[in-house]
């Protein structure tokens, strides 16, 4: 048993941390959010050059073959400064599907995203699918000219910036994943802002003509690919949340020490001190559950699913509690959009909404 980070992992953390401290101030982030893309294309290129975009890909696909521990290091640091670049969507979600698939074009596509050149989004959800991604209303049917895709996918992360989509649909009662160009005829989308400053899209497919080569996987393989991608993504956003929680208590400590009321720094008030201690404890508790989930990734289905659901459920509860207290202890400043603290709250609420919220996972956990 050894729950310490390796030297290599520690080096990665130092590298990411250095970047975040130096090049990702809250003002910089605000500027990025105001831009049309909603992320910084230059920084994305830099991520590529630093090798970060290649971290999780297998060596055969040109990656570093890193696992969830390294990803969690990256995401924890990302969380601390609220990075908005679409790493989760392009690299973790779509990247994992491609990396594990037997899709013929995967090497080129992985190269296209790890080079920072293009984005692929995963369109696996539909309205009302309630986190059950083993089924879709979208359909892929055979026609004289090949295949026809119809349906509407919901909440496609970064969908507005993607040139390609991995879409789940039913074909002969089997779930298939297919690769679709966003500029194909019959594809239309509406982009919505998300609470955490990013964006997602509702994408409709109306008689989109495809050929057999677009099929990535069929049946249980599709479900396995989605399961794997979403599990890893869940670990990533949990690590990101822990970064947010750490930032929340540190910023709150700093703020309450500097803020004077009734002739003394408000950090002198014991009730505030204990609230900050609770925030610290919540972040530590979540970190422990993250460790458990990361280290049980390769265990049997039940163990793995239990540890992921325990983690995600707790992240939802703790994240909300920590960020709400952070806002409360910042007083009026806490609800001001100019201060960073409220944006951690928004990120943590966004994380809870992703991949099943706290209620969903508590319920799932108790049924496993």
């Amino acid at each position: 048993m050894n729950l310490n980070y390796s030297d290599e992992q520690q080096m990665l953390r130092d590298q990411v941390q250095k970047f975040c401290d130096a090049d990702y101030s809250f003002n910089k982030r605000e500027e990025i959010l105001k831009s049309d893309l909603g992320y910084d294309a230059d920084l994305w290129k830099l991520f590529s050059e630093l090798g970060w975009l290649s971290l999780p890909f297998s060596e055969e696909n040109g990656g570093f073959g890193y696992g969830p521990i390294e990803l969690s290091v990256l995401f924890e640091e990302f969380g601390k400064v609220l990075i908005v670049e679409p790493y989760l969507s392009t690299i973790v979600l779509s990247g994992s599907v491609l990396d594990k698939s037997n899709y013929a074009g995967r090497a080129d596509l992985i190269e296209s995203i790890t080079s920072g050149g293009s984005h692929i989004s995963l369109a696996y959800l539909e309205e009302g699918s309630k986190n059950n991604y083993a089924f879709a209303n979208a359909s892929l049917t055979s026609s004289d000219n090949g295949l026809v895709l119809n349906g509407t996918k919901a909440l496609v992360l970064n969908g507005g910036n993607a040139s390609k989509l991995i879409v789940s649909a039913m074909m002969n009662d089997e779930l298939v994943l297919v690769m679709v160009n966003t500029d194909a005829e019959g594809v239309s989308s509406i982009t919505y802002p998300t609470i955490d400053g990013q964006s997602c899209a509702e994408i409709s497919f109306e008689n989109v003509q495809l050929d057999e080569s677009v099929i990535i996987s069929k049946g249980s393989e599709s479900i396995d690919l989605l399961d794997n991608a979403i599990n890893i993504a869940t670990l990533c956003i949990s690590a990101e949340s822990i970064g947010c929680m750490i930032a929340c208590y540190k910023k709150t400590v700093e703020y309450t020490k500097s803020r004077e009321q009734f002739g003394q720094p408000i950090s002198n008030f014991q009730v505030l001190q204990h609230k900050m201690v609770d925030m610290f404890i919540e972040s530590e508790v979540c970190k422990s559950l993250l460790f458990k989930a990361m280290l049980e990734c390769e265990s049997n289905e039940v163990t793995k699913n239990k540890s992921v659901s325990a983690l995600k459920a707790q992240i939802g509860l703790s994240g909300k509690s920590v960020a709400q207290d952070a806002v409360q202890l910042h007083g009026g400043m806490g609800v001001s959009d100019e201060m960073s603290i409220g944006h951690y709250l928004k990120k943590l609420i966004a994380v809870d909404a992703l991949f099943g919220n706290s209620n969903y996972h508590l319920n799932k956990y108790s049924q496993l």
Partner: protein, 389 residues
């Protein structure tokens, strides 16, 4: 002991209901029901409808043009407005500066300001908080220096709600630097059209522009605008805070919001969320009776003091938790953030109908445990004044 209202109170309630049904402007109601942000004109239209009915002075004595209602009638009026989904009546004029003027102002001031408040011809805002003062209100620094018949005002106020719409502001200003910081504070009325006043928006985390910073640079205000005595402003400010005791529990609005939440959750097959709704319903019903108990004690001649801080604490906790449960009910659609202006009437939001505004409402409500004396301060008050600790 009797939980039911008297026949005359029931008759009164029916009258309020009828008013709300017939005269609450339908375009305002439509927007409120659909979570669409109200414009300044919408707010004016709503308040004018109350004015026209003669009910703007709902908590004022008859001699100043008020309704002279009993505490129970005031409670009924507020609760029914909440149940009907009205926006809260703006407190700044009728519940804040008005009572200060008719209690401490001179005859000239009464006749100058009170009618405009009752007609909602003046939109007032409140200049209390300053950058750096927070819950320690008396540490305020905005200066008013007497110069002939005028005061010259320099300084700034913050968290000024809807200052962008306001015609007048009532301010606590420092007219003297004294050893005890509460002394040397005066209460003054300032026309927002005065040169030297600058209003800068503060955008809150829900993306709304509801509050502002207000900067005063050499603003010259007639000395006649001072209320009562120079240096007694803190007394008037405390009077004002005590005056606005009920309504803060927001029982009517919360009941309305809970009823809708229950409808939504009943469709969801989400036992954990249902359990939370059950507990919230119990909490709300206990809050309702707690408010009625304090009301009864008041009508019975008692003077419940700091106990009423419970209404602030529990009322805001319930308002906040309601919005949290809406967010949970929105599930994955809580991710989408349409912003405070929503999708307007045209664009079709994605996901279930109740989802789009859940997060902005949630974010907006975070302020309630901070403002009006944070909930931590309320607990300090109870600790000191009720428990004697």
């Amino acid at each position: 002991m009797e939980i039911n209202f008297t026949d005359s109170d029931i008759k009164f309630r029916d009258e309020v209901k009828a008013f709300l049904k017939d005269e609450y402007p339908s375009h305002v109601k439509h927007k409120q029901d659909n979570g669409i942000e109200l414009t300044k004109q919408d707010m004016i239209d709503f308040h004018k409808s109350v004015s026209v009915k003669g009910w703007m002075g709902y908590n004022w004595p008859v001699e100043y043009g008020g309704t002279g209602w009993t505490t129970t009638q005031i409670y009924i009026f507020q609760t029914e407005c909440g149940l009907a989904g009205c926006p809260p009546l703006l407190a700044f004029g009728v519940s804040m500066v008005g009572p200060v003027i008719y209690t401490f102002g001179n005859e000239e001031q009464k006749s100058k300001y009170l009618p405009d408040i009752l007609n909602f011809d003046t939109w007032w805002c409140q200049g209390y908080s300053e950058p750096g003062s927070g819950s320690d209100l008396a540490s305020l620094k905005t200066k008013a220096i007497r110069d002939g018949d005028e005061y010259v005002i320099n300084g700034s106020k913050t968290w000024t709600t809807l200052a962008q719409n306001a015609d007048w502001i009532f301010c606590l200003v420092r007219t003297e630097t004294t050893a005890i910081k509460q002394e040397g504070i005066s209460f003054i009325l300032i026309d927002m059209d005065n040169p030297g006043i600058e209003v800068k928006p503060i955008i809150t985390i829900d993306g709304e522009h509801e509050v502002n910073s207000v900067f005063f640079t050499d603003v010259r205000v007639p000395a006649a605008n001072l209320i009562g005595e120079e240096g007694k402003g803190w007394t008037y400010a405390k009077f004002l805070l005590a005056h606005e005791r009920f309504g803060i529990a927001a029982v009517g609005g919360s009941k309305r919001s809970l009823a809708r939440l229950k409808d939504i959750v009943s469709e969801l097959d989400n036992p954990i969320l249902s359990r939370k709704v059950t507990q919230l319903e119990i909490n709300l019903s206990s809050l309702e009776i707690t408010e009625l108990r304090l009301l009864s004690a008041l009508e019975n001649g008692a003077h419940p003091g700091a106990e009423s801080s419970i209404l602030k604490i529990r009322g805001t906790e319930i308002q906040q938790e309601l919005t949290e449960l809406y967010v949970e009910a929105a599930g994955e659609y809580a991710l989408i953030y349409p912003g405070p202006h929503g999708h307007g009437d045209n664009a079709m939001p994605a996901g279930p109908e109740h989802a789009p505004h859940s997060v902005s409402k949630y974010l907006n409500m975070r302020k309630t445990s901070i403002y009006g004396g944070s909930n931590e301060i309320q607990k300090n008050i109870i600790s000191k004044h009720v428990l004697g600790v």
